[in-house]
């Protein structure tokens, strides 16, 4: 249940950013969560409901961009979609690949009320 730690980090980060702008609430938060980032979205949703209570994010609308995994084969340079970390290159079957996208775990933006 590391998702709880992740949500608490988001609350922490959002609280600091909002304070910089003297905002007392956040209307919307946009997150990038890659499909290879190790986050289980069901656990994340559950943790979110609990962890945002009585915080600046309690009423915030949450927008999550799920970013599909993609990788570049280190042997033949083929770019391919990676669903699991053990997916092999569809061209040469090599497992030696560099992940290009899908590990994202980021707060992209906040919308603050006027």
């Amino acid at each position: 249940m590391h998702e709880l730690s992740i949500v608490m980090s988001i609350v922490d980060l959002a609280t600091k950013e909002a304070a910089k702008h003297h905002a007392s609430a956040i209307e919307e938060i946009e997150l990038d969560i890659g499909c290879l980032s190790g986050i289980d979205m069901d656990s994340f949703d559950f943790a979110w409901q609990q962890a945002v209570k009585r915080t600046i994010l309690e009423k915030a609308n949450r927008k999550v961009n799920r970013i599909e995994g993609s990788a570049r084969c280190s042997d033949c340079d083929t770019h391919f979609k990676m669903v699991q970390l053990y997916d092999s290159c569809p061209n040469c079957k090599s497992h030696l690949a560099e992940i290009v996208r899908g590990k994202e775990l980021k707060v992209k933006s906040l919308v603050l009320p006027d």
């Binding site: 980090s9 190790g38 970390l85 980021k106 707060v107 009320p113």
Partner: protein, 246 residues
């Protein structure tokens, strides 16, 4: 969330995370482009730990596994066998009890116990505080035994140089495929309890194949803390990672 000093999210160490951009829409609402990694706080503290370790030539190894794979037994035997050869210290991470720290202490090794309470993993912040109280000697090896959990600790860099994932032959050989994140982020895989192979259906070659599918550069050592088989290979690996001072 801090289990070692009680400091919470609001009193966390402050870091300046660069700048953010904002623009105000016609509606009067402000959009702030944050663009920050959620794990940034942990990663910064991990970098700080790593710098401390490098400066003192301390080899920090994060030991991860599911509960009961034999991490503590591996440490007990290693600390006993290599006593006088290398200088060691240990950080033990468990949700509750100081049982593991007591076992390490019995080998005569400096040890600190971190109890995470409800926490399912160690983070860089906990390790930072543990290290502050340890007076680690230079040119030593620091084992950080993580909470027994093959999922959560994978995401949290502690500042270690090496991450060793331990599995035992009493588990399924498909562990690397079921828990790929942990194997993906590890540098060494130890297959423990090989003395039990005659009694279980564990296929070592399959396990190694799966582990390398997830992480082709993963080093793999098979050993038994009970019989001692394979321990020499582990000790050789350990010594090869220790930078002896010039």
């Amino acid at each position: 969330m801090c289990a070692t000093c009680g400091c919470g999210p609001t009193s966390h160490h402050e870091h300046d995370h660069g700048h953010s951009h904002e623009n105000t829409q016609k509606t009067g609402k402000t959009i702030v482009d944050v663009e920050q990694d959620i794990l940034q706080e942990n990663n910064l503290l991990a970098a700080r730990n790593r710098g401390f370790f490098e400066g003192r030539n301390i080899l920090a190894i994060n030991l991860v596994s599911s509960p009961g794979s034999g991490k503590t037994s591996l440490l007990e035997r290693t600390l006993t066998d290599l006593k006088g050869t290398l200088s060691f210290a240990v950080i033990e991470g468990d949700q509750q009890t100081a049982n593991d720290a007591d076992r390490i202490h019995a080998t005569g090794t400096k040890v600190t116990q971190i109890n995470t309470g409800k926490g399912c993993h160690l983070d860089a912040h906990m390790v930072l505080h543990a290290v502050q109280g340890m007076k680690l000697s230079a040119d030593s090896v620091l084992f950080i035994e993580n909470v027994g959990n093959l999922v959560c600790p994978a995401m949290f860099d502690l500042g270690e140089q090496e991450r060793a994932v331990v599995i035992s032959v009493t588990e399924g050989e498909d562990k690397p495929l079921k828990y790929p994140d942990m194997f993906h982020t590890s540098t060494l895989c130890i297959i423990n309890k090989t003395d039990l192979l005659p009694y279980v259906k564990f296929n070592v070659e399959k396990a190694k194949e799966y582990a390398r599918q997830v992480n082709p550069s993963l080093e793999i050592i098979e050993l038994s803390c009970t019989s001692g088989e394979g321990m020499q290979q582990w000790y050789d690996w350990l010594k090869s990672k220790v930078l002896t001072p010039a």
